[in-house]
Amino acid sequence: MTVALRLDSMAVNFGSVAGLTDVTLAVARGERVVLLAPSGAGKTTLLRAIAGLEPVVNGSVVVGGRDVTNDPPESRGAVYLHQTPMLFPHLDVAANVAFPMRLRGIDRDDISRRVSELLASVQVSELAGRRPGALSGGQRHRVALARAIAANPQMLLLDEPLASLDPGLRQDVRQVLTRTHLDGTGMLIATHDLDDAVLLADRVAVLLGGRIAQVAPAEELFRAPATVAIAAFLGIPNRITGRVEDGAFCSSMGRLPVGGAVPHGPVVAVFAVDAVTVATGDEQAGVFGEVVELHRHLRHPSIIVQCGSVTLEALAPRPVPSRGATVGLVIDPSVIHFVPGTDDA
C-alpha cells in the first residue's frame, strides 16, 4: 500500500486559538477515508491546512511521499473542494475543467481530449459549452469533481460535499462519489453525517477534541467505538457504567454474563438500539422497566425504557406498547462492546 497522504502530529490554529492539536492520519492511494466530526470540530480547517490554505503550526503534511508542509497550495498535489462547487463563473464548463491543465501548459488537443473524457466520466458531456450559472446543483458538483481530477492530484480533499443539498440531489452526488474510484489518488471526505460516512468510506476517521480519536471501517467503528465520547458522538444511545467481574457485567441492572475477551474492572457497556428487544412469551427477560417515551423513527421505531436508574433504548415491538406500560427487555450480550473506564461523555 503506497501512501497518498500522511499527517504526523499536525497542529493547526483556529484563528489565534489552538484548534487541532495533534492530528495523525494516513490515506492510501485509491482509498476513500471519511473524516467524521461534529460541526465546529475543525474538519474544514484540517482540509484547508492539508491543501496549504491555512498555516500548519506543528507537525508535518506528506502528500504522495513528499513533505509539503511548507509548500504553497499550488504545488502540493492536493485539491481542496469547497462545500459549494466554486466553479469559475466567467468560464464555461469545458474551460473550467481545462483550467488546471492550461496552467501546466498542456497541448491544446490533449486538453480537449482529456476534458471530454472527464466530462463523460461524470456524465455531463452535453454540458461542455454551458456557463456554471446555467447548471443544476448536482451538475455543478459533477463538474467541480471533473475539474479536480483534471489537476491529476495525489489527494482530493472534499469538504462536506453533500451538505446543503436536498435529499434527491444528495443521492445523485453520492452516486458520483461512490463511482469515482481513482487508483492513484486518495480521497479525504469531511462530513458530520453518519449515513454519508457509512456509504462513502473505506475507513472512517473520527475527529474529536482536536485529534483523530479513531480510524476504522464504518461497521467496526459503530460496533466497537474506542471511547465513550466516540460512542456518544455516533449516537449510540445505550451506555451503561458498571464493572466486569468473574465473567459478568455488574451494574445497577444486575449481573449479565459475558463471554470472550472482555476488559476487567470498571467499564462502560455500549450497545446499539437493536441489541435490546422486548421479551416475548418464551424469552427470559433480563431486566424490567417502564416505557417512558416512544420514538417514531421512519424505519426503526424505538421505545425508551426506564429501568431503575438506567435508561435504555430498545427496538419497539409490534404492537407498540403504550407509555407507562411495564416491559421485560432482552439484551444480546454478544453485541455489547465494553469500553474501559467510566462514562464522562
Binding site: L53, E74, A78, P89, H90, R104, R131
Partner: protein
C-alpha cells in the same frame, strides 16, 4: 377614493421627471441658443457658434476637454489599481490594523478638496511638479485613491475568496490566480472603480486650480471662467460636455450590468 400616498405619488412623478430631464434640456438649449435674454423663455435664434469653440481653430473648450479626459482616464486607472490592492489588503487585516486602514482610506475622502490642495501644493512644488499636468494628476489621484480604496474595502469585506482558494489548490500561483480568476471575475467592480476614480478627477476644480497654478486648463476651469464672464452659451456647452460622458458611462454601466445578470445566476 384616492389615498394620500397615491396623490403624493401622482404629484411627485412630474417633479422627478423634471429633475431628471431638466439638466440636459436646459444646458442643451443654452448651448445652441444665442440672443437668449430676459424675459424670453426660449432662445431667439439658434447657432452652433459655441460648439466651434470645441473643435475650431483657437478653440479653448477642445483642448480643455482633452486635458480633462486624459486626467480622468489616468486618475481612474491609477486609482482603480491602487484601490484594488489597498482595499483587499485592508479587508484581509483584522483588529486594530483594519481600523487604522479604514481610517486612513477615509482621510483623503473626508478632507475638503481645498484643504487637500493647499496641503499638497508645497510638496508638489518641492518635487518640481508645480503648475504641471503631472502635478495635477498627482493631486487628483490622492482623493480618487481614497474613494476606490473604500469601494474595494467594502467589496473584499463580503467577498470570501473561495474561487481563489479553489484555483490555488488546482495549481495556480498567485499571479495566475490574479490573471485567470480574480480580474476576470471582478471586471465589473474594476470598471466601476475606474469610473469612480475618473469622476472624482473629472469634476475637480479646487485641486486643479491650486496644483495647476492656473496654467493647466481643464474643462471645469473653462466653464467657470465663461460663466463668470457672462458667456452663458459657452458655459452651457462646456457644462454639457462635462455632463454627457459620466451620464453615458452610468447608463452603459447599468445596461452592461443587466446583460451580465442575464448570463449569470
Amino acid at each position: 377614493m384616492t389615498s394620500v400616498p397615491a396623490m403624493l405619488r401622482r404629484g411627485l412623478l412630474p417633479l422627478l421627471l423634471l429633475s431628471a430631464a431638466m439638466p440636459l434640456a436646459i444646458l442643451g438649449l443654452a448651448s445652441i441658443g444665442s440672443d437668449w435674454f430676459f424675459p424670453a423663455l426660449l432662445p431667439g435664434t439658434f447657432s452652433l457658434a459655441s460648439w466651434r469653440n470645441v473643435v475650431g481653430t483657437g478653440a479653448l473648450l477642445g483642448p480643455a476637454l482633452l486635458a480633462s479626459a486624459a486626467l480622468a482616464l489616468a486618475t481612474g486607472l491609477a486609482a482603480m489599481v491602487f484601490g484594488a490592492f489597498a482595499g483587499s489588503a485592508i479587508a484581509a487585516a483584522t483588529g486594530w490594523r483594519r481600523v487604522i486602514g479604514a481610517g486612513a482610506a477615509f482621510l483623503p475622502v473626508a478632507a475638503p478638496p481645498v484643504a487637500l490642495a493647499t496641503g499638497l501644493h508645497a510638496t508638489l512644488l518641492g518635487a518640481g511638479l508645480g503648475s504641471s499636468i503631472v502635478g495635477v494628476f498627482v493631486a487628483h489621484v490622492v482623493p480618487a485613491c481614497g474613494y476606490t480604496t473604500l469601494y474595494f474595502l467594502g467589496i473584499f469585506t463580503v467577498r470570501e475568496g473561495g474561487h481563489e482558494d479553489a484555483a490555488r489548490t488546482l495549481g495556480a500561483g498567485r499571479f495566475d490566480v490574479l490573471r485567470r480568476v480574480t480580474i476576470p471575475m471582478m471586471h465589473r467592480e474594476l470598471l466601476e472603480a475606474l469610473l469612480l476614480g475618473a469622476i472624482v478627477s473629472w469634476g475637480q476644480v479646487a485641486l486643479t486650480l491650486v496644483a495647476g497654478g492656473g496654467s493647466v486648463r481643464t474643462l471645469p476651469l473653462e466653464v467657470i471662467d465663461y460663466l463668470v464672464a457672462g458667456q452663458d452659451q459657452l458655459a452651457a456647452t462646456g457644462s454639457l460636455l462635462l455632463v454627457i460622458p459620466p451620464l453615458a458611462a452610468f447608463g452603459l454601466m447599468r445596461l452592461a450590468l443587466r446583460n451580465v445578470e442575464l448570463v449569470l445566476p
